[in-house]
Amino acid sequence: MRILLVEDDAEVARFVRKGLQEAGHNVEHAANGRDGLFLAASEQFDILVLDRMLPGGVDGVRLVETLRGQGNRTPVLFLSALSAVDERVKGLKAGGDDYLVKPFAFAELLARVEALGRRPTVEAPATKLKIADLEMDLLSRTVTRGGKRLEIQPREFRLLEHLMRHAGQVVTRTMLLEKVWDYHFDPQTNVIDVHVSRLRQKVDKGFDKPLIHTVRNAGYMIRAEG
């Protein structure tokens, strides 16, 4: 993917850029808002990673508002040292698609960037999701594996749906917490792990090939081959 990183802190920029490049992405970097806006408006990117506070008169929020005003719909991930909920809401309202508070683990950033970048640009109203022999029917809200119906509770359904929509991508615990439960706080305990392991019991138990994988130091991933 072609990624534009707008970040004024040289060290963070270097670290993020290196990490994203190692993950196989093509990264352009701008150190201030004005250059960032110029690049974002004149070239095609798959995703923009913006610091919320930028020098040069154009901060992250202004940059996104300007782009959205021009009809540019490139997904935007905000990086910010401002953790207050208001700030998150402000960022998302301005047209940001995701919000990551500094300091962050690189795995978290990478997972979010990939989730945003591979999001279908036109939300195709898929009615079925399928990974190997695991099938999810979004209309009847049923899940089958190898033709056998699985007993899945509503919340587990949403958890599995989120994993399946991002099949082959790492989904972090925080992402699940935010996207499946809409919680923006630290649950203190490894609640997400408990939920995933419960889901795993239903989806993978009794089948040869496990589909839900734990990615060390990052999160979970659903994929066909072990």
Partner: protein
């Protein structure tokens, strides 16, 4: 005049004598003079010189019964040299006027004195009443926040002013305390893990060049840093809630699904530990609040309950509406409970009961719950759980939410 025309001077003189006789007050003045300048009738000794004939009502000084008085006179020529002066003695009136003028002057003077002294007294009284408030304000401006405006028993507008000042000061004090608390916590409780992380990394640098050890040390360092970040986030969130900054996010919320979700969220944890998490929620529980914070507060209570309750234990989440738009959220457990002396301190930042040192946690959970409850105009109550939850006393944590 008519008499003169009809009957001449004698009749006039008679009429004058009659009138004078009937004049009780003795203010009337009459004088009839014949052409030779002799008095025919009347009570003036001499003809008033100052009044020319034919003038209407002029003032003059006249001689009357040997006394000089002020009079208003009308002088007319009756013809044939006869002259008549008719008038009224105004000395009384004059005196009355003088008296009045004097009276008014005196009373004006008295009023002025009263006004000035009254104003001074009132001002003194005001100053007296406002002095404590002013002194308090000065003391606070000088940096001592412990002062409060003393209140009298009168419960008047000054007391009301004093009371609102005190409420304001309490709030400021609490905020200051919060800031102080946060900086204290940062000083104490972030330094320790930071020092630990630093030590580990340093050790790794000077230690053996074994890549495995090095990697493990670095991973531990990152974990430590992550924990520091979590503590920091928690502190910020508490501070945010305490400062009331999050009130902007308040919205009409139905608490029942929020609590049900939280219970379901932590229910998985309970299940994995063989504990039972029961809920008893009303169909609808409307309130105005911050959904995320309320969920986190309830979550923290449940998380605590689950942590301190042994396997097979019970945790119960109940919520109900109280009168006057108040709401109660209760989390009870069958765990070991809290010693009374720990209860008061639970909820202060980083407090951990000695018995809980072995359990993971930052000691910030209840602080957040308390801050959230206060943000919503309520408080956190800790007490022994009822025996029906079996076994040991257990803890019952109640969040009361006021109509914030």
């Amino acid at each position: 005049m008519e008499r003169w025309r009809e009957a001449g001077s004698a009749a006039v003189a008679e009429a004058i004598a009659e009138r004078l006789a009937s004049d009780v007050e003795g203010n009337s003045i009459y004088l009839l003079m014949n052409p030779e300048g002799r008095r025919l009738a009347g009570n003036l000794d001499r003809w008033p010189q100052g009044v020319p004939a034919g003038t209407d009502w002029a003032f003059d000084t006249v001689q009357r019964d040997g006394l000089t008085t002020e009079a208003r006179l009308n002088v007319m020529e009756l013809g044939n040299g006869y002259r008549l002066a008719v008038g009224r003695d105004v000395t009384e009136k004059q005196r009355l006027r003088d008296l009045l003028a004097e009276g008014i002057a005196w009373s004006a003077f008295a009023a002025l004195i009263f006004a000035v002294t009254g104003a001074a007294v009132l001002r003194r009284a005001l100053e007296q009443r406002l002095l404590p408030a002013a002194q308090t304000a000065e003391a606070i401006a000088a940096g001592d926040l412990s002062h409060r405006v003393p209140l009298s028993a009168r419960n008047d507008e000054f007391d009301r002013l004093g009371r609102s000042m005190n409420t304001m000061l309490d709030r400021i004090d609490r905020l200051m305390e919060g800031i102080r608390g946060v900086s204290d916590s940062i000083a104490h409780d972030l330094r320790t893990p930071i020092a630990r992380a630093r030590a580990k990394l340093e050790e790794a640098v000077v230690g053996p060049d074994d890549p495995e050890t090095l990697r493990a040390a670095m991973e531990r360092g990152i974990t430590d840093l992550d924990n520091i970040t979590r503590v920091f986030e928690a502190l910020l969130r508490i501070a945010e809630a305490e400062a009331g900054a999050r009130r902007a996010a308040f919205a009409q919320t139905d608490l029942t699904p929020v609590l049900a979700d939280v219970a379901e969220f932590y229910g998985a944890v309970a299940e994995s530990r063989g504990q039972v998490l029961e809920t008893d929620l009303p169909p609808v529980l409307e309130t105005v609040g911050d959904r995320d914070l309320l969920a986190q507060a309830a979550g923290n209570l449940i998380d605590n309950a689950l942590k301190f309750t042994p396997e097979g234990g019970h945790v119960r989440l109940t919520a109900r509406a109280l009168p006057r738009e108040r709401i109660e959220i209760v989390v009870e457990d069958s765990g070991p409970g809290l010693a009374p002396e720990d209860r008061a301190r639970a909820g202060t930042r980083f407090f951990r009961a000695d018995s809980s040192r072995a359990t993971p946690g930052s000691g910030l959970g209840l602080s957040l719950v308390r801050a959230v409850a206060r943000l919503h105009g309520g408080d956190l109550l800790l007490e022994d759980a009822p025996q029906e939850l079996r076994g040991s006393p257990g803890l019952r944590a109640t969040i009361r939410l006021g109509s914030a």
